[in-house]
């Protein structure tokens, strides 16, 4: 019985590697050239730290650290806002936190505006994970809506749990 087998054309490999390198060089030249010509071109290297990501045009950062946030919580000076989905908020959240899930923000923002009418209130948004952008996007939106004291607790939920700070479950405080 005849069977068809495949053998590697190894003589093609050097040619393929040369072509792959040339394609990369071409792509690098095209991308850097196009970036140079764009008015909104990206910096080739950028500071992606939370402090830099959340800096206002004046250079002031919206980031609040855990000790400051816990102090605000103890004194009751700040409103905490959980930006995660309702299901995660219901499983557990910072005690007293409102829930404005960023992915359904249009359904929840009116409730938040009713519950927090004073634009000078200290509002601390949080979600979970160092790179989680839900709380960052929500914070920027609240700032755009006129809230003047908006802060972000980066990786808030994990940090809060790690220090055994007050938490609660259920969705009763959803905004």
């Amino acid at each position: 019985m005849n069977a068809i087998r495949f053998a590697l054309r190894s003589e093609l490999l050097p040619k393929a590697l040369f072509q792959a390198a040339a394609l990369l060089v071409l792509s690098v030249l095209l991308s850097l050239g196009a970036n140079q010509l764009r008015p909104d071109g990206l910096a080739l290297v950028q500071d992606w730290s939370a402090q830099a990501r959340l800096a206002s045009p004046t250079g002031e950062s919206m980031v609040v650290d855990l000790d400051q946030a816990a102090a605000f919580h103890r004194s009751g000076q700040a409103v905490f806002v959980d930006a995660r989905p309702v299901s995660l908020y219901a499983e557990g959240h910072i005690a007293g936190a409102l829930n404005v899930p960023w992915q359904q923000v249009n359904d929840h923002i009116d409730g938040f505006l009713e519950k927090v009418p004073d634009a000078a209130t200290i509002v601390i948004t949080y979600c979970d994970g160092e790179a989680c952008e839900l709380s960052e996007d929500l914070a920027v939106m609240l700032q755009d809506l006129g809230y003047t004291n908006v802060k972000v607790l980066i990786n808030g939920w994990s940090l809060w749990l790690s220090k055994d700070l007050p938490v609660e479950t259920g969705a009763a405080n959803g905004a």
């Binding site: 005849n2 069977a3 068809i4 590697l8 093609l12 393929a16 950028q46 989905p85």
Partner: protein
């Protein structure tokens, strides 16, 4: 010339279809990334795999590489090199998605979820199935270009 008109058998047409399909996928994938590099840089950052100094460079170069690969695959130019890159990139995308799914990271928002969000499971499963299909197409093309058929008894 890359296009082969001599061998008009079924394999030829299958290979041509795979090439054009995969090329179109790369062209479609690169368009939005080239138009909105800052958004794509944020998406790369959300994967939480690359060190910070490489995020913007990757976000700038990768879409143009996809564009070049798309044209090469469709036109049949430099297929060996283009297929090495195509397979490499698709494997990187696939493994990055698997890695982040396993560690519970939602790459849409860069956020961790202790339990999978029901709304988020379907897209990730869909991405994995879709990427597996792309990998199958790219892998098949790689075999046809780098393989030589031998008759064995």
């Amino acid at each position: 010339m890359g296009l082969e008109f001599k061998n008009r058998n079924a394999w030829h047409w299958v290979r041509l279809a795979l090439r054009v399909f995969l090329g179109a996928v790369f062209l479609f994938a690169c368009a939005d990334k080239i138009l909105h590099p800052a958004d794509f840089a944020r998406a790369v950052y959300n994967y939480q795999i690359l060190p910070d100094p490489l995020i913007n460079l990757t976000a700038l170069i990768l879409p143009w590489l996809e564009l070049v690969l798309g044209f090469c695959l469709i036109a049949g130019w430099w297929l060996p090199g283009a297929l090495l890159w195509s397979n490499g990139l698709l494997w990187v995308f696939f493994l990055a998605l698997v890695f982040n799914t396993m560690r519970g990271l939602d790459v849409h928002c860069g956020c961790f979820a202790s339990t999978p969000d029901p709304a988020g499971v379907a897209p990730v499963a869909w991405y994995l199935v879709r990427d597996s299909f792309f990998l199958f197409c790219a892998g098949s093309l790689l075999v046809t270009v780098f393989g030589r058929r031998k008759q064995a008894v």
